[in-house]
Each structure stands twice: as structure tokens, then as C-alpha cells.
């Protein structure tokens, strides 16, 4: 409910900010001041409060799925902040990738690791108070330094947007082409790495039947319809005269597959 009211405040402030930003574009630039915040600043402050609150709930809640859903609120709030900073392309990329892809991946990860649905009492570790001390000290130091350093600095948000899709695309494909292409190679490597990491000892089990089944015709009926372990054991028999290293590899694969099965049994 508080979220809904905050969102209502946010949209109201946003429209007010749009009106205020649209009106005084002409004329002399008025002096800035702390005590007369513009509409954009008020909107930024409100959305920032929502974002920070959602982030705090994300790192403190004991319900794991709720943490992922509050992370959606925090990331969406950051997307609105990007819009307020006139970086619209970054905002939509944030919505697409973070809110669309990363949070879904995290939810999948939570489900695949059998995270408890309800409240899990051991979500926080024992050194919570040390972590809180470190975080508060770092926050105090950073906020003090930043606020002192940029006390008299203002962002000029009038005029054409400095982060529109045309501007961002032009600078990205004129000045940043080489890092962009390197990044695509990195994404490919990450894709391959994630696939390799997340498949479970498949190459050993798929390699063994092709090696042992290749020299002779398939036996009728028996064998592959069984479970993998007995099939491999039956297949390993006549091949042992072939070469020592092949049977060694087959034994290793057999042990690995059985170990995998034992692990699965333990998980159940």
C-alpha cells in the first residue's frame, strides 16, 4: 500500500516536473538554490526514496522471493531516475535487461536451488552487525565526501536530451565500436561458459556409448533401454581387449555417472 501511494506521488511529481520543465525554457537562467528545489529535483528525491527503501528491504528481508521482487522495485526506480536525468536509452535498456532478464534469472536460480518459499531464519549470517557497521561507516564517509565535493554543482537539464537514442547510438557507434564488438565476444563467451557450467557431467555419459557402440551392430532388445549404469557395464565388457586407456576412460565415466546418480539420490 505504501508502495502504491509512493508511486502515485511519483507520477504526480513527475507530471508536475514536466510542466515546470516545459514552462521556463526562455529567459535568463535563474540562480540555483538549495531551498527552492525544482520539480525535477523533488521527483528525483521521491523516486530515490522509493528506490533506496526497496534496496534496503531487498538486503534485509528474510523471504528470498520477496527480496527478488523488491529488487524489481529498486531497479525500476533506477530506470525512472535515468529518465529524469534525460538518459532515456539507458532507462529502457535498464528496464529490458535488469527488470526483464536479470530478475527472471534470479527467480529461476532461487527456484532451482530449492529456496524456501516462506521466511527462512538463516538468510543473514552471523556477522550482520559487523557488516552493518562497515556499511554505515562507508555510507557516512561517501555521502559526506560527495555532498561536500559537489555542493555547488548543478546539472543543466534544459535543452535537448543528452541521452536520447540518437545521441547515444551516434556516440556508441562512432567512438565506442571496438569495445562494443569486444563486448559481444564477451557475451558469447559468457553464454558458452554458462552452458558448460550448468550441464551435469553430460559429456562422459554421452561419449561412452558412441565409443563402444561404434564397431559392432546394435544388439537387439537389450542394453540402451535400461538405466545408463547397467547399459554401460554391459557395453564395457567386450571392449576391454581394445586398449587399456579406453577401458580406463570408460571406467572413469562409469564411476562418474554413478557418482552423479548417487548425488541425485542424496538430493532427493
Amino acid at each position: 500500500m505504501t508502495l502504491a501511494t509512493a508511486a502515485a506521488h511519483m507520477t504526480a511529481a513527475h507530471t508536475a516536473a514536466a510542466h515546470l520543465a516545459a514552462a521556463p525554457t526562455t529567459g535568463a537562467p535563474e540562480p540555483h538554490g538549495f531551498l527552492s528545489p525544482t520539480g525535477v529535483e523533488i521527483a528525483f528525491l521521491l523516486v530515490g526514496l522509493v528506490t533506496f527503501g526497496a534496496a534496503v528491504v531487498t538486503v534485509t528481508t528474510r523471504q528470498l522471493v520477496h527480496a527478488a521482487l523488491w529488487l524489481v522495485v529498486a531497479l525500476g526506480g533506477l530506470a525512472v531516475e535515468y529518465l529524469l536525468l534525460t538518459a532515456e536509452f539507458i532507462a529502457w535498456v535498464q528496464v529490458l535487461i535488469y527488470v526483464g532478464a536479470v530478475v527472471v534469472l534470479i527467480l529461476f536460480g532461487l527456484m532451482l536451488t530449492r529456496a524456501p518459499i516462506g521466511r527462512s531464519p538463516d538468510a543473514d549470517s552471523g556477522n550482520r552487525w559487523a557488516a552493518l557497521t562497515v556499511a554505515v561507516a562507508a555510507a557516512a564517509a561517501l555521502v559526506w565526501v560527495v555532498a561536500d565535493a559537489f555542493r555547488t554543482t548543478w546539472i543543466d537539464l534544459d535543452g535537448p536530451a543528452s541521452g536520447s537514442t540518437a545521441v547515444t547510438g551516434a556516440s556508441l557507434f562512432q567512438n565506442w565500436v571496438l569495445p562494443f564488438e569486444a563486448l559481444s565476444v564477451l557475451l558469447l563467451a559468457a553464454l558458452v561458459g554458462a552452458i558448460v557450467l550448468s550441464r551435469r557431467a553430460q559429456p562422459d555419459r554421452s561419449l561412452t556409448p558412441t565409443v563402444s557402440d561404434a564397431p559392432r551392430p546394435a544388439p537387439s532388445g537389450a542394453g540402451p533401454a535400461d538405466t545408463a549404469g547397467t547399459g554401460e557395464k554391459a557395453d564395457n565388457g567386450p571392449d576391454q581387449a581394445d586398449s587399456a586407456e579406453r577401458s580406463e576412460g570408460a571406467n572413469k565415466a562409469n564411476k562418474a555417472s554413478k557418482d552423479d546418480k548417487a548425488d541425485k539420490g542424496d538430493d532427493r
Binding site: 529535483e41 535515468y82 538518459a87 535488469y98 532451482l112 560527495v146 546539472i155 565506442w176 553464454l191 549404469g229
Partner: protein, 145 residues
């Protein structure tokens, strides 16, 4: 807009993520906190890029380009990280990073994952060559054979 607003918000979000990384115990929650820290850096990059593109006539837009790169690298990082967490969960049965202390010094063998410990005297260990993990794997393979 005053530059202190996005800078202070970014610092606060970063420290929130720092607290999450230090205090959380589930590996996926730690990954979520890392995402918060990366987003704080992104907000800083965007804010300073918008400021410098007007104040210093900076037309390279390095902040926004770096933000896009950071977002892409964060997506790759969360994919690899979740794959690693899933592999650990499959091998150990837990994603609790406080229990994954096999490589820590000064601790005994962990008593969380495997029911049969590596110190079983009946198991024929190799002469000091195999680690406890392969020892338990060989034991399991022989127990199920």
C-alpha cells in the same frame, strides 16, 4: 538538478549493496546485492555524463557508453554466477556460502554436505595423491557398484 542528489543516492545504494554482500548467507542474495552495487555505479556514470556533456562540452558520452557496457557485463555476470551457484548446489546440496569452506585453512573437513566423511578407514585411498573429494567419489562409486 543539483548533482548531489544522484551522487548521494548512488552512494547510499552502493552501501546498501555492500551490507547485503557482507551480511547475506545465501549465494543468490549475495548476487542480488552485487547487482545493487553495479546499479549504483551506473547511476553515478549517467549523472556525471549528463553533467559533463553540458558543463564541459563533452561529446564522447563515455559515461553512457560505459553504463551500457556495465549493464551487459552485469547480465553476463549474473548468468555465470547463477550457473556456478547451481553447480555448487548440485554438488553440495546447499548454496549457503558460510558452509562452503573446503579451501579455508585451519578448519576440519566440512560436516555439512557429505554424510560419509573422507576419513573412512575402509576406503583404499591412493598414496597421498587424491584429494578427499575424489576419495568420496570413489567410495560412492564403489558403494553403488
Amino acid at each position: 538538478m543539483h548533482l548531489a542528489y544522484p551522487a548521494v543516492l548512488s552512494a547510499l545504494l552502493f552501501c546498501t549493496g555492500l551490507y547485503g554482500v557482507l551480511a547475506r548467507r545465501n549465494a543468490i542474495l549475495v548476487l542480488m546485492s552485487v547487482e545493487l552495487m553495479l546499479n549504483a555505479v551506473n547511476l553515478n556514470l549517467v549523472a556525471f555524463d549528463v553533467w559533463l556533456s553540458r558543463a564541459a562540452e563533452e561529446t564522447l558520452h563515455s559515461g553512457q557508453a560505459l553504463t551500457l557496457f556495465t549493464i551487459a557485463i552485469a547480465a553476463a555476470e549474473i548468468g555465470i554466477g547463477l550457473a556456478i551457484v547451481l553447480a555448487v548446489h548440485r554438488n553440495r546440496g546447499t548454496s549457503d556460502i558460510d558452509k562452503l569452506r573446503d579451501t579455508a585453512e585451519g578448519h576440519g573437513p566440512d560436516d555439512s554436505g557429505d554424510s560419509e566423511g573422507p576419513g573412512d578407514p575402509a576406503a583404499p585411498h591412493g598414496p597421498g595423491t587424491d584429494t578427499p573429494a575424489t576419495g568420496t567419489a570413489a567410495e560412492k562409486a564403489e558403494a553403488t557398484a
